[in-house]
Amino acid sequence: MTLAYQKLIDSIVKGNEDSAAEETQGLLNGGAEPMQIINGGLIPGMAIVSEKYEKKEYYLPQMMLSADAFYAAFVLLKPLISADQIGGKGTIMIGVVEGDIHDIGKNLVKTVLEANGFSIIDMGRDVPIEDYVDKVRELKPDILMLSTLMTPTMVNMQRVIDGLKEEGVREKVKVIIGGGPVSLPFAHKIGADNYADNEKEAVKLASQASAARG
């Protein structure tokens, strides 16, 4: 690994937006390919951040700063990536369920999925149940990812899935859920396909689903 890539990784780990953008621009000026920068700098950087978070060396503020640095670099690369590279693995619709505004985790998952080659439809936060149902029918994503941080609003994940069933579109989309109080048994209970504990797991599950589609 070159020093420039190590500096980009360090910028993301330290959550330094300006430095992450500068290092990315420097790599581009030096002739590096955008996907090479994503795979050699952005994703390894964020993997270190996730590991630190899991080990409780990092907390939410550090995670958020690193996600900002990641995004500052990614926005420079995104326009330069060809359509087949950026959305080549399929389309994911992602959002926080009705009654919940906690979208920091969702935004992190979204950014990392995008950097991993998925096309993203971001529904935002506190999204009414019928909006998910309407947009799944209209935009036909491959995967719907739903998130909540609060136990009372977990019921709205069930309602979205029930809505998809009522509209006859449940079988056309994989549903993956996530968020602090959510678990795999809960996913099974409400009829979701799977549960992701963090952004790495979300990428893994989405990639598996993509590979299964062929």
Binding site: Y58, Y59, L60, P61, Q62, M64, E98, G99, D100, I101, H102, D103, I104, R125, D126, M150, T151, P152, T153, V155, G180, P181, V182, S183
Partner: protein, 257 residues
């Protein structure tokens, strides 16, 4: 003598104090001394039934018929790490079972940390009561508990999802809780996170707990002002806790004979 245990989070100290003061059936109220139980001990200090024990080993059941209570208070913020809350609650349930005929928990699901409570304590031979919604489902947390039921929480977030719920316990502990929960080094960092998290309203929940209403109002306003939230208020209810205490008393009585 029937012995009822109450194992509660410090965040409910005002509500639990209120219930204990109004509950005349208890002939004695034993509080296990700790820095976390000092609030309840202070609230109950003028009640002649109150006795502060240095630890559980000091407890001797009163002779004769009737019911007495032992109160153990755990620190706020355990819910931030599921394992910490589980360890704290399960360990203390097992300690209290040695001397109690039944237990009331001052906890809800708490971010689903206690989702598998029954399985975890299936070896515990006394009834353990967790507060429930009127429909029998377990209550989510201290906010839903004092709102009267989970449906009330959902109604409020339907009105405004960016609502931060304020209770007397929150007013007392919010700075500690936020700094610890978010891993933030100072309130400025918390503000930065809150700006990104889209909160807009603080909702003060009023119940008949024994808190000083002026201190509570001033604390709620200080919290809202710190983060530039609009401050609203609404009535809550202690009915869930009252019902849970009644249930725990009945089960303990049956167990204790």
């Amino acid at each position: 003598m029937t012995v009822l245990g109450i194992l509660t989070c410090e965040v409910l100290e005002e509500e639990i104090s209120y219930l204990l003061l109004r509950e005349k059936e208890f002939i004695k109220i034993n509080i296990i001394s700790s820095e976390h139980s000092s609030g309840i001990a202070e609230r109950l200090s003028s009640d002649a039934r109150t006795s502060v024990l240095q630890d559980l080993a000091e407890f001797q059941p009163s002779p004769g018929p009737g019911m007495e209570v032992i109160v153990e208070v755990l620190n706020v913020g355990l819910h931030m790490v599921k394992k910490e809350l589980q360890d704290g609650v399960f360990t203390n349930i097992r300690k209290l079972r040695e001397v109690c005929d039944g237990l009331l928990l001052g906890y809800g699901l708490c971010g689903n940390s206690l989702e598998y409570l029954e399985e975890e304590i299936k070896d515990v031979p006394i009834p353990v009561v967790m507060p429930t919604n009127p429909n029998g489902s377990r209550i989510d947390d201290c906010v839903c508990m004092v709102l009267g039921e989970t449906q009330e929480y959902l109604k409020e977030v339907k009105k405004e999802a960016g609502t931060w719920f304020v209770t007397p316990g929150w007013v007392k502990h919010w700075d500690t809780l936020l700094l610890k929960e978010l891993g933030a080094k100072d309130i400025k960092t918390v503000k930065w996170i809150f700006d990104k998290a889209h909160y807009s309203r603080a909702l003060k929940i009023n119940t008949e707990g024994c808190y000083d209403k002026q201190v509570y109002a001033a604390g709620a306003k200080a919290f809202a002002d710190t983060f530039n939230f609009r401050l609203d208020e609404r009535e809550g209810s202690l009915q869930i806790l009252v019902a849970a205490l009644d249930r725990a008393k009945n089960l303990a009585r049956q167990k204790g004979g």
